[in-house]
Symmetry: C2
Subunit: 624 residues, 2 copies
C-alpha cells in the first residue's frame, strides 16, 4: 500500500456550482421537491412529533427506535441544499426542526427521543442493537454540516453538548462502549476537525480500535435481560448455530486483522470510512481498510456499485455471490460505498477509489430516487419481474434522506483541491473557485457528462500560477484525446490521473475526450448469476432494458454481440433475438421447439429504470 | 372433460411385489432403515412421549402443535411396509406406538396431544391454523391402511372413535367447520369406503363444498383473541395488504370456481385429491379439479414434478415463476401431487395424469430421501451452490414419513385393475396377482425401469380369459416397439394407453421397448429462469450435473447440443465447454475477456444428487 498522507481536501459546497444537466437537475429537484417531500413524511409519521413530545416531557414515542436519525440526515441534506443557494421554504422548515431538536435535548446533553420517552432508565444499556450512538452521530454530522457549509452554529451547539455527554461516559479509563451500528466514529472525527478539538477524533479512533476485541461488549449485552427486552431479535442477528460471531456488526476481529467485507453493509462501510480518516501515518490500519475495500470491489460488488446481496443481514455473503433478481443492494449501502471510497481517494490520490465512487454514484446510488424526486428504492435489484417499485416512504426510512445528503454534497465527489493541485475526479460540469498555490483561481468545466465524454476545462487564475491540474482517466476509457495549447511536454500519468503541471494563465483551456462508445461487459465467471450474460455500459453508466421500452420482458431478449449498437440520445439500440411466445403451450418440450425472431431492443440507463411504473427489467442480458 | 366414472382401483399391496432394482431397493431400505430411523427421531424429539404424557394426564407438550401427524404418517407407512412382508422390529415398534395412541385417546374420542396437554379449553377453537383435523386425518388414514393392508383393526377402532367425535361436532345442521390444513377430507372418504359407511364420505364432501364460501370461518377466527393466542402468525399468512384473501389455504372461492392453483401447496393438493374422490357423476366438480391440475402441471410445475416455488407460503406464486436455486418444491408437495394425480387417473383413465405421477415419483419426490434411507430433503431445489443437504430430521418433520408412506405404497401408482382390464401405468418390474373378468390371473413384468425401457409382461391366468391389458405410453416415448405373438390386430390406443384386448392364455408375453435415448428438453420461454438452458432427460428421469462428478461447479459448464451424448450405465456423458477461471481476476471486464475450454461432463439422475455431501448442482444447463 501507498504511503498514508492526506492528498487533498474537498471544497466547500458554496465554492463549486454543478452545471451539467445531470447534477444540476438532481440538485434542483432536491431543493424543490425531495427535501420538502421528506419533511412531509417525517411530519406525517410522527418523527417530528417525537421531538415535541420529548421537549414537553410527555407522550409515547411513535415509530422505530432509530427514527431520530432520519430527521438528522434530512437536516444535513438541508445544510447542503442551502449551501447551494437560499431557499425560503426550506429555511422555514429547518428553523422549526432545529428548534424542536434543541428543545428535546436534556440538560446533560443526552438526546434520543425513543429512550427519553420510552426507556429513560435503559439509556446506553443496549449499545449493540439500539442505535443511540448511531442517532447521535447523525445529529453531529448535521451540526457540522450546518456550521461548515452555511455558517450556522445552532445545531453544532446541540451536537457538541451531546458529544461531550458521550465523551463523559465512554472512552479510555471510562466505560468501553461503541455502537452496534457504526456512524458515531465518522461523526466524532468530523466534529473534532470542524471544532479543532482532537479529543473527539481520539475518542473515535479508540472506538474503532476497541471493536472486535475479546470480550465483546455486544456479546455481553446478550446476557443482560433488561437490555434484551429492547431487542429480542438480537440473537437472530448475532449468533450463528448458537455461537456469537459478531460478523453482522463487524465485531468478529480487530479491524487490523480484517480481510473480507462481512455483515451488515452500511454499518461496515461507515466504519471503514471512519477508520481511513484516522489512518494517516498508520499504514497497517490503512492496509486493512484497503484490503477489505478490495475484497468488496473486486469480489462482492454489483456492476452498478450495489453492495450487500442479502436481505437476511442487509449485507454481504460470499465472494462472487451476486444474485440479480433478489439483490438487496440497499441505496444506503451504495451511498456508504461512495463515502468510504472518497476517504480512500483523499488519503491516497489513487483513481481506483474514484472509479468506484463514479460507478456507485451514477448507477446503484442515484437509482434510489425517482426522476420526480419523491419516491425511493430501498433495494436496488439488477433484475425485476415487476415486483419492484419506488415508494414515497418506508417504516425504516434511512434511504430517502441518505440519497438526499449525497445529492446535496455531490460536488465533494467531483473535485478536490490540495496545496498545489486541483483534482477532477469526475468530469462533470462545474464552476469552482478556490485558492491554489496561494492564488485565487476559478475553474470552469464545460461538460455534458455522463451523456458525453467531451469536456473543456478553462482555468482562470487571478494571476499566472503554477499548479498541477489532475484529471482522472476513468477505468472505462480506453481512447482518451487531450488538447492543451502551450503544454510543452505530454501530460504525466500518476495513479490513474492525467497530470497537467504548468504555469496556468487565465483562459488556458484543456480539452479532453474520453471516447464514450457503448461497450459490452462480462462478469468474472465465478459470478454464477451472470454466466452467459453481458451488460451494456457507456461511459460511467450501466444500462438496462425495460419492458416499458421493449413491449415484452427483456429477459426474453438475447443480444447479438457481433452487430453494431446504435446510440440515440440517452438510449442505445441493440440488435438481437426475442423468444417467441405465441406458438408454444407446453411448459417443457424437446430442445428445438421454441423459436426466436430477430429484433432490436432499446437499452436505457439503469439508474432511471422504473420511472414509468413497475415492470420487467434486466441489466444482464443473455448473449445470443 | 371426460365423463366421470371410476375407471379402476389399486391392488392391495400384498398382491403386488415390486421386482425391479429401483423400487425393490427403496422398499428394502424403507423396511430396514427408514422406518426405524424415523421411529428413533420421533422418540428423541418427544413426539412419542407426548402421547405417553397425554395418556397419563400430566406433563407439558414438547415440539410443534401438529407433531402427532408425523407419528400417524409413520404408522401408515409401517402398515404398507408390513404388507410387503413380516418384520419383527417394525412390528414391535408399532405395537408400542399403537398402544400409546390408543391410551392417549379421550373417552369422547378426541385425540390431539397438543390440545390435551396444553389447551384443553381451546379444542376446535382455531381450525384455520392449529391442524387438529389435519392430525385426525392422518390418524384415520393410518387406521384404514392397517385395516386394509394388514388386516389389523386396532388403529381403525381409534380412528372411528375420533371420526365419530368429529362427526358429532361438524356437519350439516351442526357447526360449520373444516381444517385450515386439508387432509381430513381424504381421510374421511377413505374411512367411509373401508368401513362401508357413506356418512363419512358425505361429511368430507360437505367440508369440501363449504370451503371458500362467505362468510369465511377462518376469517372469523382472526377476530377471536383466544384462538389467535395460539397462532399469532395467522394474519401474516391470511391477509394481503390487511385484507383476508384466503388464498393461502384455498379459502378464496368455492372449489367449483377455482381456476389456478394458489397458496400452500400440500394443503391444496390433498384437498383437490379428496374432491376428485367424490366427483363421480359430478362433472362441474371434476372439471374444476382438472382445471386447477392443468394450471399446475402446464404452468407452475418444475420439470422434476416439484411444486410450490416459494418458501414464504410453502406454495404457489404465479404462472411460470419457477426459480431453480430458491425452489421450495417441498418433498411433501411432490408426494401430494402424486396422490392427487392418481385420483384423477383412476377416475378418468387418462395417461396425462400418470405422466405426472411418473415425473414426480422418479424425480422430485424420491429426491427427498437419501440413498442411505435416513436423511431427507425438505426442499428440492433444481440448482445448488452447496447450501443444500439432506438432514436426519426437521422441527417440522412432515416430509420423512410422507416419503416413507409413498415408497411403501408405490405399487398403487404402478398398476391398477378394473373389472375387465389390467392397467400398467408405470412399466416397473412387478409380480401381481388379481382377479380379472372373474379369473385369477398372475402378471409378471420383467423390467429394469427406469434404467431400461425394455419390458416383458407375461400373463398367467388360471384359465384363458379375455381382458384388456392397458399399458401407458409415456409422454417422453416417441419410438415404441411392441411385440405380442398371436395378437391379430394392432393394439388400439385409448387416452395414452396401448390397449391389448384379447383372450389371454397362460404364458402369453407382451414385449415392449419404450426407446430410452437421452434427450435435451427446453422450457417454455415464459419460464424466465430457464431461458437459454436445457435439461437432460432419459426416460422418466431428469438428470443433473454435480460438482462431485465434474470437479467444478456445473454452472460453469455449457452443453454442446450438436454433439452426441454417451450413455454409461446410470450416467450420461455430455460434450461441451467449461468457463476457465484461472486467468481472470477482475470482477467485470470487456466482453471477450473470459475463455472457455472444451470438455465433457457427467450427468446423473437428479433424484440421487447430494448423496456424497453438499455441493454445486444444476438441472438446467446453459446451451453453448
Amino acid at each position: 500500500m501507498m504511503s498514508i498522507t492526506r492528498q487533498m481536501r474537498p471544497l466547500p459546497l458554496r465554492s463549486v456550482k454543478l452545471t451539467d444537466s445531470f447534477w444540476s437537475k438532481w440538485q434542483e429537484t432536491l431543493r424543490d421537491v425531495t427535501l420538502e417531500a421528506i419533511y412531509q413524511r417525517m411530519a406525517e409519521s410522527g418523527r417530528l412529533e417525537n421531538f415535541r413530545k420529548t421537549a414537553e416531557g410527555q407522550g409515547r414515542h411513535v415509530g422505530r427506535y432509530y427514527d431520530d436519525s432520519d430527521v438528522y440526515k434530512w437536516c444535513e441534506a438541508c445544510a447542503y441544499a442551502l449551501a447551494l443557494g437560499p431557499h425560503k421554504l426550506l429555511k422555514k422548515r429547518l428553523d422549526e426542526v432545529i428548534e424542536l431538536i434543541d428543545a428535546a435535548q436534556e440538560g446533560s446533553g443526552y438526546l434520543n427521543t425513543y429512550f427519553q420517552l420510552e426507556h429513560p432508565d435503559l439509556k446506553w444499556r443496549n449499545l449493540g442493537m439500539m442505535h443511540e450512538l448511531y442517532c447521535a452521530g447523525h445529529l453531529i454530522e448535521a451540526g457540522v454540516a450546518f456550521f461548515e457549509e452555511v455558517d450556522d452554529r445552532r445545531l453544532l451547539d446541540v451536537a457538541i453538548k451531546l458529544a461531550d455527554h458521550i465523551a463523559s461516559i465512554f472512552g479510555p479509563g471510562k466505560r468501553v462502549g461503541f455502537c452496534g451500528h457504526q456512524e458515531i466514529e465518522l461523526a466524532l472525527i468530523r466534529l473534532g476537525r470542524a471544532a479543532g478539538d482532537k479529543s473527539y477524533v481520539e475518542l473515535a479512533r479508540w472506538m474503532i480500535e476497541k471493536r472486535g476485541k475479546s470480550p465483546s461488549i455486544f456479546e455481553a449485552e446478550l446476557d443482560d435481560p433488561e437490555a434484551m427486552k429492547l431487542s429480542p431479535w438480537a440473537r437472530g442477528h448475532l449468533l450463528k448455530d448458537g455461537v456469537y460471531t459478531g460478523e453482522y456488526l463487524q465485531d468478529h476481529a480487530p479491524i487490523r486483522e480484517h480481510e473480507a467485507i462481512v455483515g451488515h453493509a452500511v454499518r461496515g462501510m461507515y466504519w471503514y470510512a471512519a477508520a481511513m480518516e484516522v489512518a494517516e501515518g498508520d499504514e497497517p490500519l490503512a492496509a486493512a481498510v484497503d484490503r477489505v475495500w478490495r475484497n468488496l470491489t473486486e469480489k462482492r460488488m454489483y456492476i452498478t456499485g450495489g453492495c450487500g446481496p442479502s436481505a437476511r443481514n442487509e449485507g454481504f455473503t460470499a465472494d462472487y455471490d451476486l444474485p440479480n433478481l433478489t439483490a438487496y443492494a440497499e441505496t444506503c449501502a451504495s451511498v456508504a460505498l461512495i463515502f468510504w471510497s472518497q476517504r480512500l481517494l483523499h488519503m491516497t490520490g489513487n483513481s481506483d477509489y474514484a472509479d468506484v465512487v463514479e460507478r456507485a454514484l451514477y448507477n446503484g446510488a442515484i437509482s434510489g430516487i425517482s426522476e420526480s424526486g419523491d419516491r425511493f428504492f430501498y433495494t436496488n435489484p439488477l433484475e425485476s419481474r415487476g415486483e419492484h417499485q419506488r415508494l414515497p416512504w418506508f417504516d425504516c426510512a434511512c434511504c430517502p434522506p441518505n440519497i438526499a445528503r449525497l445529492i446535496g454534497s455531490v460536488a465533494k465527489q467531483i473535485v478536490s483541491v490540495s496545496d498545489e493541485a486541483f483534482w477532477i475526479h469526475i468530469p462533470a460540469g462545474f464552476e469552482a473557485e478556490t485558492s491554489i498555490s496561494g492564488v485565487k483561481t476559478r475553474l470552469v468545466c464545460e461538460s455534458n457528462y455522463p451523456w458525453s465524454g467531451e469536456i473543456k476545462v478553462r482555468v482562470e487564475p487571478a494571476k499566472p500560477v503554477r499548479f498541477a491540474l489532475r484529471v482522472r482517466i476513468p477505468d472505462w476509457a480506453d481512447d482518451v484525446q487531450t488538447e492543451l495549447p502551450g503544454l510543452n511536454s505530454e501530460s504525466e500519468w500518476d495513479q490513474g490521473y492525467a497530470v497537467f503541471d504548468k504555469l496556468w494563465q487565465s483562459g488556458d483551456t484543456l480539452t479532453m475526450d474520453f471516447g464514450m462508445t457503448p461497450k459490452w461487459v462480462e462478469a468474472n465467471p465465478r459470478v454464477l448469476d451472470d454466466l452467459g450474460r453481458v451488460a451494456l455500459t457507456r461511459g460511467p453508466l450501466v444500462y438496462c432494458a425495460e419492458e416499458h421500452d421493449l413491449g415484452y420482458p427483456p429477459q426474453l431478449f438475447s443480444a447479438d454481440l457481433d452487430a453494431p449498437v446504435e446510440q440515440n440520445s440517452m438510449r442505445i439500440k441493440v440488435q438481437g433475438f426475442r423468444e417467441k411466445l405465441d406458438f408454444i403451450d407446453d411448459i417443457y418440450a424437446a430442445e428445438g421447439t421454441t423459436e426466436c425472431e430477430e429484433t432490436e431492443a432499446i437499452f436505457a440507463p439503469y439508474s432511471a429504470w422504473c420511472n414509468r411504473g413497475a415492470n420487467h427489467m434486466a441489466v444482464w442480458t443473455r448473449r445470443a
